[in-house]
Assembly symmetry: C2
Homo-oligomer: 205 residues x 2
DNA sequence: ACCTGAACACCGTTCAAGT
DNA sequence: ACCTGAACACCGTTCAAGT
């Protein structure tokens, strides 16, 4: 909860999280290129060698940052998923909008997560989180198949179509390859809904 | 055509292209993190300051590299598109497979193109190339709408669904977030075909 | 145990100087 | 015009030394 990272109040109990918070701030402010380990250390009020007590190297810190990004993404998708009153179609639509919205809102973290700056590691914890999010998607599809709304095909196969379309949308938007200039902030959601509706139409009976 | 970049045969006529070739080689071998301007210059046999005669800064060189990647991608898609004997459905399928295959075959360049390491510039030449590839996609869809194979909807809207799904596929695969281990090299194509077939089904009447 | 400060081998970029 | 070599301010990483 302590948000002031300015004073030189070093060697407190939780330098690890302080470093992560500083790194995320610098990432958002300056992009992944401007994120140096030395700048993170300075921002956290410690010497440039201190981070090595908590992270093996810079890549480990970036991986931890990406990990928290994946957890946030999974949480947002699951939240959209667990709205009981919604139909499977509505759940898919909301999950898709939430997915793309989060990616567009924090493009630097998305690029860190998906841009290849991070190499898959032995633990691959973030792959498990991605898997959990995907499984939630599969469950929605299964529900739709049961109620007869969706085509009676392998739910994994149908879920993959929905996931790839939403992910592609998110990546194209963060890479500025989709004309969002004509639409603006609210237009992003409308573009996502258009694609999502077509995907849902495609997997419906 | 001159492929040996070892001897110190500097200040030839075309250092610019020699630098681009050296950069691409280093990019493929060492990834985007290992691509330093000094290493590129050494590889090309010139001093570390020489590249600045041909590129304003490192970002300009990376942009030129991404640009050639976009041109290759557009060429591959157009080639798949212009197979006259194919139906619109077949053209879409082949274009999608070609798109993802190229991205998976050269993940480092794909990450450079789409990973956010490149900021959109004043000229934005690569956006025009991306636009050309997208227009080719729209034309296939229009053909399918004319022949009555596809739903009578805005072709741009339908094309966006196809594009986002294929792009998402390519990005998830290069980020190692899709289980390609169980399938292998040939399995990539099969996974792409599965998604592409579902997308085509979704936009068909 | 945890952090510091110096040190090393690298960077990107600039600039006077050479041909 | 085109390239070099020195210089500057930065990096990531290591390590002896401090508390």
């Amino acid at each position: 909860m302590n948000t002031d990272a300015e004073g030189p109040h070093y060697h407190h109990g939780d330098l690890r999280n302080a470093l992560l918070a500083a790194a995320e701030q610098l990432l958002v402010e300056q992009g992944v290129a401007g994120l140096s380990l030395r700048a993170v250390a300075k921002q956290a009020g410690v010497s440039h060698a201190a981070p090595y007590r908590h992270f093996r190297d810079k890549a480990a810190l970036l991986r931890a940052l990406a990990q928290s990004g994946f957890e946030r993404l999974a949480a947002v998708i699951l939240a959209a998923t667990e709205t009981v009153s919604h139909s499977p179609e509505q759940k898919l639509l909301e999950a898709g909008v939430a997915y793309v919205r989060l990616a567009v809102d924090q493009p630097e973290i998305s690029q860190l997560m998906f841009g290849g700056g991070i190499k898959p590691q032995g633990d691959m914890a973030y792959r498990q989180v991605a898997r959990a999010a995907f499984d939630a998607l599969v469950e929605i599809i299964q529900e739709g198949v049961r109620t007869g709304a969706f085509r009676d095909r392998d739910p994994q196969e149908l879920a993959l179509v929905a996931w790839t379309a939403m992910h592609g949308m998110a990546m194209l938007m963060t890479a500025h390859l989709l004309d969002t200039d004509s639409t603006g902030a609210a237009g992003v959601d409308e573009q996502v809904r258009s694609v999502a509706r077509n995907v849902i139409y495609g997997i419906s009976k």
